[in-house]
Amino acid sequence: MNTPAYNFAYLDEQTKRMIRRAILKAIAIPGYQVPFASREMPMPYGWGTGGVQVTAAILGPSDVLKVIDQGSDDTTNAISIRKFFEKTAHVATTTRTQEATLIQTRHRIPEAQLHGGQILVYQVPIPEPLRYLEPRETETRRMHALAEYGLMHVKLYEDIARFGHIATSYAYPVRVNDRYVMDPSPTPKFDNPKMDHCPALQLFGAGREKRIYAIPPFTSVVSLDFEDHPFTRYRFDAPCALCAAEDSYLDEIVTDDRGGRMFVCSDTDYCESRQKLGHRGSERVAPHRGGAHG
């Protein structure tokens, strides 16, 4: 038998300490990117190593973990990360948002209202909101330090000049606690309002870029905009095909090779919960749906 013995949640305790210190700093300075010594994880960069390290550092034996990828509990990445923590921490896992104490997510915020005591951990590819406008790290650090955010508005201006409206539809920059401008990770801008005064703690981990940032509960998070081009949420034309929800973010699912498609909730747990309560959309059964995980 050569099965290696892992420390609880894979990371050694010293590393967890280091990450927790970074998290505490991040919570103390909402929206500020704290550098941390990102460890080598058993998955490549770009697959959520930042989020996994944050989760690993704060996970406890009594936690109930939910992992979603683009809102779904049963995509490959969600499943593999959930299995990773099941194996290395033997924690309870769930797909029910309301039952989870710790939710790791890639690129979506759950539709269900989060409550106090929950922690939402985001996987972040590029933490620096100004990166594509100003490639120099030395310069962006100065800009954050001096709150020089004119450049951010330049990006929004460009969108309006080119497209007539602010065309950023995901990773929409926000101003946290009236101070730091932050990239909320590639969540759709539809989700931005959920971040504002959220009762849960929001943590953000970027493994490759080696940054952690945080939004404490009940912190103001305002999406950047212009007075004459205010921030608007995306509105879909029709409700979810399965549960008829009108207020959730929808995925487009291709149903056949003749151009058939339908729009269903991206948040699978939300959709299933509504269906259990009797809500029905125009379609009966979603294609290729596996059984719920316990």
Partner: protein
Amino acid sequence: MAEAVTTTSLTAEDRPLLIAERLGKNYGRITACREVSFELYPGEVLAIVGESGSGKSTLLQLLSGQLAPSAGRVSYRMRDGVMRDLAALGEAERRFLFRTDWGYVHQDPAMGLRMAVSAGANVGERLMAIGWNHYGRIRDTAATWLERVEIDLARIDDAPRTYSGGMRQRLQIARNLVTEPRLVFMDEPTGGLDVSVQARLLDLMRNLVSELNLAAIVVTHDLAVARLLSHRIMVMKGGLVIEQGLTDQVLDDPSEPYTQLLVSSILPA
């Protein structure tokens, strides 16, 4: 005779805007410039001329606070009237100054522009940096300035990557002037441009400087540019100021041997 006369207040004009006192910079044993002293008043254009290696570019960097002096100091009168030593300003203050009350026109416009961002955004950036939050107003102000530097308004949404050299330089000027600075630094502003383009640019700069009552410090190796643009001139050689005074006087009645050499070296048109 009664007429519509607008005069700027004498008291403001009588106080120097920028004072350099025994300014010097050396790198180890190499002296880039030394013992430079002068006072610049509002609305005055000072040309710093010299050949390469004269120290004029280093001097410009010192005067604009981008290099710390090895000796002496530079003081600037802020908008509230208080004279401040540039070296004593905090970084935030200096950067703010650089974006609002000062302009800096680089020889290569690509250094002073965001090449991948539209002209309108280039001009509007300084406004957004000081808190302007209304897209329509930002765009209108940018458009006004583009007109003022004679850039076709139809190009407002084009990136300067698509502009010619002369247009880029004019855009750089607009970008600098949008916050109505009182002092503009220019480093060989017409260098590298075709002669006809240079001419047009110089005319524009001349008009803007006089309309806006700008003070300017222009580094150039071209005496014709100095004669056209500046009221006062400083001739540098080997890091020292060889001669300084009224531009027409220094160029028409040069006293120092080096100045006489420079003036006589100009090829007649």
